[in-house]
């Protein structure tokens, strides 16, 4: 294999690094210091959601907990799926390993359950 296919990658990396260095060093010197709300928005483009909900559009923290809990199962399925596909080939050893893995995930789950992370109120 020759160099050629990877030259663009390296070029981009160098360009990116130079650009980052340049903009970081120049910004405090020449940039105007006008902070406004849009700077802190997650997306700087697009229309603002209207009407603004009460309290600036914040959600109860419970939604965050639920979303984090979902991630536990999300992670679990990533590994369960390939295992299920080649279940036959992996045999007993694979089964035991998978049980151990699921037990570990459930340890986290019982912690959340006992600490009341599953109660909505």
């Amino acid at each position: 294999m020759t160099l050629s296919p990877y030259v663009p990658i390296v070029g981009l990396l160098i360009l990116g690094a130079l650009f980052a260095l340049f903009s970081v060093s120049i910004a405090p010197i020449v940039g105007p210091k006008r902070y406004n709300r849009a700077k802190l928005e997650a997306y700087e483009c697009g229309i603002e959601p209207a009407p603004q909900p009460v309290g600036g559009g914040r959600f109860p923290v419970k939604f965050y907990l639920t979303a984090m809990l979902f991630i536990i199962f999300d992670i679990e399925i990533i590994f369960l799926y390939p295992w299920a596909v080649s279940f036959d080939a992996l045999g007993l050893f694979g089964f035991v390993e998978m049980v151990l893995f699921i037990v570990t995930v459930f340890i986290a789950y019982t912690y959340v359950w006992r600490r009341g992370g599953l109660n909505w109120d």
Partner: protein, 510 residues
């Protein structure tokens, strides 16, 4: 469908790692089911007992030299030595973390979810028992470190890096007092840490493209024979090195260190300064010596330059510090520079001297942070240097201990700091890197100044009205400080047993 061949697994060699992972999971279950009152003693015993059991297994397995579990983990001299060192230092840090007599409820917040400054938060600061999740978190971090130094492929190394980093981010955020500072430290550590690990990962991806695999031996062979573009190799190595150098706090990837060391609870800072440094350098050594031996002439000057830069940044900025924790942070950066000198030496003495330095520095820094946690006033720890003025008159014993530790950092003979600098510089001269030694000696002289300033301040200033009191330490902090001071002295007076041990342990399996 035919059965797959299972890789052989040497469970005995892996047992220290497995024990700690098991103990950490058990700790989570204790959090879930044990009554609130029982949690602290149970968790403490579990964490320390688990670490001791793992240490015993490391000692029993001391002659094992094996690459196991599908070439993912290499249990050899350096990894066993480093695992032992991490466990020893980890046990001492756990003593500091578990201390509850200095402050009602211990140094950690009772409930991390309480909003800072709220009514409930003020009440918890008055002495609600600190939370006990810190123990499973610390044990998870320890087990990640054990795996990190033994990882024989880059994927395992990446996973171990995250397993050790993620609990540390959380531990930083859990201080009982000055919680905003603590959370800010955690945020900075988290953002910069995951930024660095993203670089590490992209480096892994490029090296995978270069070598067709991420096993260290495979990369080593590819370096010698691969037809692929060298650009992939160098870009991959550079990105990988950024991730590792960040963890060991080498300049220019050191900016997080002072902030995080200052903001984090002092026991956690001690834990990071001692154990994370060992783990980071262990992985750096393995990657550079096993996988990239073939390009050592290419990376040596680069790492050497970084070493010089790290020593200069650490020592010069240490001079201007006004806060004892920040001062120790910059000292930790400078020490990372000296350690890099040993890494760059690229010979067997380089490995063994780095191993020695890591252990010696770890014990000294643990004792130093142990002392820092004792100097307190009504608001918690008094870390500003001006508050330390006249401490020698108030409590001579503590000031004497701290003076000894400062002298050890400065590298005065009869302390471990002298021997460790001596062996590291000796290895560098053998490796033909004399310019690093020159830089090392010059910066050692610069950094002696801030250490001496602290000593002069403690002994020669009059105690002011505001000089804080020194709390009477509980047995755990006393033990931790005592072990640290004893190791600093012992390694300075009779270093040969540990030097022999590091010599025996300095060969990587391939």
């Amino acid at each position: 469908m035919e059965d797959l061949n299972l890789p052989p697994i040497d469970y005995a060699a892996l047992s220290p790692i497995l024990i700690l992972f098991g103990v950490a999971c058990l700790g989570v279950l204790v959090e879930a089911f044990a009554p609130r009152r029982a949690r602290h003693p149970v968790q403490l015993v579990l964490a320390i007992g688990g670490s001791v059991a793992a240490l015993v297994m490391v000692v029993l397995e001391r002659n094992t030299r094996v690459v196991t579990i599908g070439d993912a983990v290499a249990i050899d001299g350096p990894s066993l030595f480093l695992q032992g060192a991490i466990l020893l230092l980890g046990i001492v840090s756990l003593l500091l973390i578990g201390e509850r007599s200095l402050e009602a409820g211990g140094p950690f917040v009772a409930q991390a979810a309480l909003t800072v400054g709220s009514e409930k938060d003020n009440r918890q600061a008055q002495g609600a028992p600190g939370n006990t999740e810190i123990y499973p978190l610390a044990v998870f971090a320890l087990s990640g470190m054990l795996l990190f130094v033994a990882a024989n492929d880059l994927l395992t190394m990446f996973i171990a890096l995250e397993v050790l980093s993620l609990p540390l981010y959380l531990l930083c955020a859990l201080a009982r007092r000055k919680r905003l500072l603590s959370q800010e430290a955690a945020l900075k550590y988290f953002l910069l840490g995951s930024y660095a690990s993203a670089f590490f990962l992209f480096g892994v991806a490029l090296l995978y493209g270069y070598a067709g695999g991420v096993n260290l031996q495979q990369i080593n062979e590819a370096v010698a024979a691969s037809q692929n573009s060298d650009i992939l190799l160098y870009a991959g190595l550079a990105l990988l090195a950024i991730g590792l150098l960040f963890k060991v706090a080498a300049a220019p990837f050191h900016v997080w260190t002072p902030d995080v060391y200052q903001g984090a609870p002092t026991p956690v800072t001690a834990f990071m300064a001692a154990c994370t440094k060992v783990a980071g350098f262990g992985a750096l050594l393995r990657v550079l010596y096993v996988a990239f031996e073939g390009v050592q002439w290419d990376y040596q000057p680069v790492i050497g330059t970084i070493a010089v830069l790290t020593m200069i940044v650490g020592s010069v900025l240490a001079v201007t510090q006004q806060d004892i924790k920040r001062l120790l942070a910059y000292s930790s950066i400078a020490n990372a520079g000296y350690l890099l000198v040993g890494v760059v030496a690229q010979n067997r003495e380089g490995v063994s001297s780095t191993l020695f330095y890591l252990v010696a520095y770890g014990f000294t820094v643990l004792a130093a942070f142990g002392v820092v946690s004792l100097v307190r006033d009504a608001d918690g720890e008094a870390t500003h240097l001006s508050r330390w003025a006249g401490l020698g008159r108030r409590s001579p014993l503590l000031a004497a201990i701290f003076t000894f530790l400062m002298l050890a950092f400065a590298g005065i003979p009869l302390t471990s700091g002298f021997i460790s600098k001596f062996v590291v510089f000796g290895a560098a001269i053998d490796g033909g890197q004399s310019w690093l030694v020159v830089a090392g000696v010059v910066t050692s002289m610069i950094i002696a100044f801030p250490y001496l300033r602290v000593i002069v301040m403690m002994w020669l200033s009059e105690p002011a009205e505001t000089t804080p009191t020194v709390s009477v330490p509980g047995w755990m902090t006393s033990a931790a400080v005592f072990i640290g001071v004893l190791a600093t002295l012992a390694l300075g007076v009779v270093p040969s047993p540990l030097l022999d041990l590091t010599n025996d342990a300095s060969l990587f399996v391939r």
